[in-house]
Amino acid sequence: MTEIFDKNFVGATFIFYIIFFFIGLLFFIKGLVSLRVRRLIEDTPTSTAASVAVGPVEVYGQAVPYVLRMFSPFSKKDCVYYKYTVEEYRRSSGGSGWAMVEKGERRIPFYIKDDSGMVMVEPDGATIQVPMDYEYESGLKKDPPNSVIEYLYAKGESYKNLFNWNKTMRFREYLIESGDYVYVLGTADMGLNPSKPENVVGVNDLVIHKGKNIKTFYISDRPERKILENMKSRGLFYIYGGIALSLFCLAIILHYYGLI
């Protein structure tokens, strides 16, 4: 009996460490990719909106909605991108913590405006990194704001439990608001720009989108310097962390087999 248990234990542990060995490997690759993108950002000079030419481009300017207007679900801010999460604090015998109830995001085409003019960005397929802008919580004696309640009702969710008490919930929003300064690294191409609104002047004919050859398409509401710092620390963390995790798991696996 003990022998069977030990075998199962070793088998389960083996699979566990194998999985974590590969997770370490993925971290390592993710770190290398992050540093590669960092280098691409560093090496691409910033163009003005008016002088954007076909090919890989980097622009920095204010986000201006194209034709559609969009408002974020909780804070009702005029924005060109939003991501939101709804989490609920749950307690169980296994432990307690925040569980994701719902999440979603939406993006619409927008212009980048600077002193020279405007250029359109079609954000489909972009990696968008923005810090959290708004956070609301509900608890026993704390109702969420009306906009959050309306949103939950529309989605068929409720912030109250079976006893009509408020659940402990957390609502977060990540936004690129209209007028925010936005960094974009993508590929500019001809022939994709939908008809320009008549009242808008100084718009470049090109559109920045996800390129066919250079796949990197990155949007952030941080300035370039902050993005580079962030990517460097994250890239190195994943590389060193990935190597350490993989080697540690490999050492444990080898130890189980009596090879170390």
């Binding site: 390592f28 008016a50 030419a53 090919g55 080697l247 080898l254």
Partner: protein, 189 residues
């Protein structure tokens, strides 16, 4: 050492080797991209320089009838255009570009003394077009110079210098008129 330790060391070394190879490949690709960017941004400037050079004869023939006594000014524009067409290197073109801009500016300033010319629609359209092209050249010159600066810094930094030396990459010239390199526009009257 046991087989397990060897395997562990081998895996660690493999990680380091992969990281180093990927790093050098990214340096190679980065330098190739920078060089390509320079070529692309230069082509964008060159096409505008040609467009402006093509508009200058039209400008001269439009104003000639009104400014018959301003031969010196008109000749300066014509000579600047000729010099622009003959310039080959970036430095030469930058010098001639500056001379051309100055010659055209002088012509616009002199045109202020001719009310009939100022009312001429063809002249106004040409003036708008040439000014637009010059603004675009200024924008793209900045981008070109940024590309060249990024490239020149890269190929002189460690470890990029190793790859750059192996590929025989040389520093590129900025689009900037240097006093010594500027061609003197001959004024023939």
């Amino acid at each position: 050492m046991s087989t397990g330790t060897d395997l562990l060391l081998f895996t660690g070394a493999a990680f380091v080797l992969i990281a180093v190879v990927v790093y050098f490949v990214s340096i190679f690709n980065g330098l190739a991209m920078l060089k390509n960017n320079i070529g692309k941004s230069w082509a964008n400037i060159d096409v505008l320089l040609t467009q402006r050079a093509d508009e200058l004869p039209n400008l001269v023939s439009t104003v000639k009838g009104y400014m018959a006594h301003e031969q010196k000014t008109l000749q300066a524009v014509t000579d600047a255009r000729a010099a622009l067409m003959n310039a080959r290197t970036v430095g030469e073109k930058a010098g001639v570009d500056k001379d051309t801009t100055e010659a055209v500016k002088t012509l616009y300033a002199v045109a202020e003394n001719y009310p009939d010319l100022k009312a001429n629609q063809s002249f106004l359209k040409l003036q708008d077009r040439i000014t637009g092209i010059e603004n675009e050249i200024a924008d793209r010159r900045e981008f070109y110079n940024d590309s060249v600066t990024a490239y020149n810094i890269r190929i002189q930094s460690i470890p990029d210098i190793v790859v750059a030396t192996a590929l025989r990459y040389r520093p590129e010239e900025l689009f900037k008129a240097e006093e010594g390199k500027r061609q003197v526009v001959e004024v023939k009257i």
